[in-house]
Amino acid sequence: MATDLQESSTLALGEINKYDFRTDTPTVFKAQRGLSPEIVSQISEMKREPGWMRDFRLKSLEIFNSKPMPHWGGRIGVDFQDIFYYLKPAEQQGKTWEDVPEEIKKTFDRLGIPEAERKFLAGVKAQFESEVVYGSLQEDLAKKGVIFTDTDTAVREHPDLLREYFGTIIPPSDNKFAALNSAVWSGGSFIYVPKGVSIEFPLQAYFRINAESMGQFERTLIIVDEGAQVHYVEGCTAPMYSTESLHSAVVEIVCKKHSRCRYTTIQNWANNIYNLVTKRAVAYEGAMMEWIDGNLGSQLTMKYPAVYMMEPGARGEILSIAFASAGQHQDAGAKLVHAAPNTFGRIVSKSISKNGGRSSYRGLVKVEPGAKKSRSSVVCDALILDDKSRSDTYPYIEIEEQDVSIGHEASVSKIGEEQLFYLMSRGLSEAEASTMIVGGFIEPLVKELPMEYAVEMNRLIELQMEGSVG
């Protein structure tokens, strides 16, 4: 089975091992398992947070407890009392690479972050367990007033800016998992790009889960001021564990007038992880928000990045790729809300199901009254690699305005015998040919990724495809 990385042993053992290792890290503080007001307060205290944040957490916990589990999407088999909600690997956050503890460095070395940084990065934030331990941002960006830090630091160092937006785009009451995140969040990125500043290189963060039964609840807030531009990239590779793990992030983004933000994620979770993420952006006049979202691995992913187009001329684009293999359910999709006239939305979703995997597209396009001349198009294509696998489409469209244009196209296809034969007649094995066809299927999205992520994505797909043809 290809997604079980330990078993796919043929070609790139080194490559595979890269994603499957643990390091023994001295844990300075480990909260107790489970969830209670005491634990939440303790987390807040450990972080030396101001009172408002502690109150926000406690209130969120109440909301979490009062909300039922969602009854749609996938089956969520998580015992909330059996999870560590906070783990701090080291007391201090490293300033430079040299300051980073050796064990953690080893982990990052194996992920290739320092090289990546040298080559491409404007700034690196690497999240190890719950805290950001290493961060750097090129000096000139800092000079322009760009803030790129972890959210915990932002609570201390940029309290006013943070408080103005934190929890306003996704309030704790939004859904059960947003409430959970709001109660126990830790880490994540905080980015502020001042008026008119555009950052040429993508800002990147690596997230990892590296402790058993540990939930990861990062919280990201990005504020792109008027006329500013930023591309944020988040990549994820989790090592494999046998007990169930929960990942529930919240990402809030504000795109002010005529700004542009692109948020790229590639997540490759271990097969036992529940990945339940709430991502939402608001875009004001003439602003452009793009989500590019790649989901591989995990036991269940439920993720529907949203763009609320609040003022005329706002644009929202959501491009997503989901790959579901044995034992995996990818319930991914998108949400576009046209709340003003002349707003433009686009959703492109590609899913691949293999070896009994299940992928669903769940999307909503909503046009509010008065949002005249708005346009949206939704294209979702599913590729099913065998008879055991499954793909579903749940497109919801709510239109409360006449003068709009909304398009929806959906296709489901199987890998064509004719295509396979054509490639095999040129000397490609069946597995190579299928991999190539799958690669071609997602290519329209992959080419939107930064170079090194495109390479990574293609390699991940190859790993997923390995041994898929018997």
Binding site: T10, A12, L423, L428, S429, I437, I442
Partner: protein, 280 residues
Amino acid sequence: MNERLEIENLHVAVEGSEILKGVNLTIGRGEVHALMGPNGSGKSTLGYAIMGHPSYEVTAGSIMLVDADGTAHDVLEMEPDGRARAGIFLAFQRPMAIPGVRLADFLRHSVTNVRDPDRKEGQELMPMREFRGELKDKMKELSMDSDFARRYVNDGFSGGEMKRAEILQLAMLRPRFAILDETDSGLDADAVRLASESIARIGGAEMGILIITHHEQLLEHNIPLKTHVMLGGRIVESGGPELAAELHKQGYERIRKAYPEAAAAEEEMEAERRLEPAAS
């Protein structure tokens, strides 16, 4: 004896109905053979069967690849990729589009496998520089723009572009035996002339070529040693280049009259086809 591709008494069925009814054909390396015949007579079916298309079931007969020392390899035992690696190539009458896969990427993979038949999946591909250089040269020889290799395989190609891409693949893969299934169709007059020259240059004495065509032009620089006529799933007559000229000018009247049995088989196949839409 010469290296050769030997087809004996080949019977092929598609979805249970027999299309080829005993084809015999031997092509030596370095020889050019032309295969003509009316629409639906089974020419493409022969190409598919040689290449190992899964829908074309060989119900009787054999296809053997014989080395110069006389060692015979059973082609029917090989998967399509094995056949490609053994040196067989089919230029498709209607090549398949593979959206999202760049011609250059696909070809690099393909060339690597065919030149190193023992290569295992995941092993190194042919070095990029070397590949690019060679591809560029070949494209130049075929008057193709090098940007063309960045396009997705056959996706949105014009009819002529598809056929040129097939010739490019032929040039890069340099097989021992090539079946060119109507590689001239869709090409304009100049392009056919260029294709004819290119195929002659690529083939030289190194390749055994079976040219399936309804025209003569492709044969201009590839004078066939033999011209074969297929009718109703059999090769009913073989002759020299003059036969190709005759068929091209005068059609298949004479052939149908001379081989009433094959002509009857042809009619039967046509009748079956007419019934199909009603049956399904």
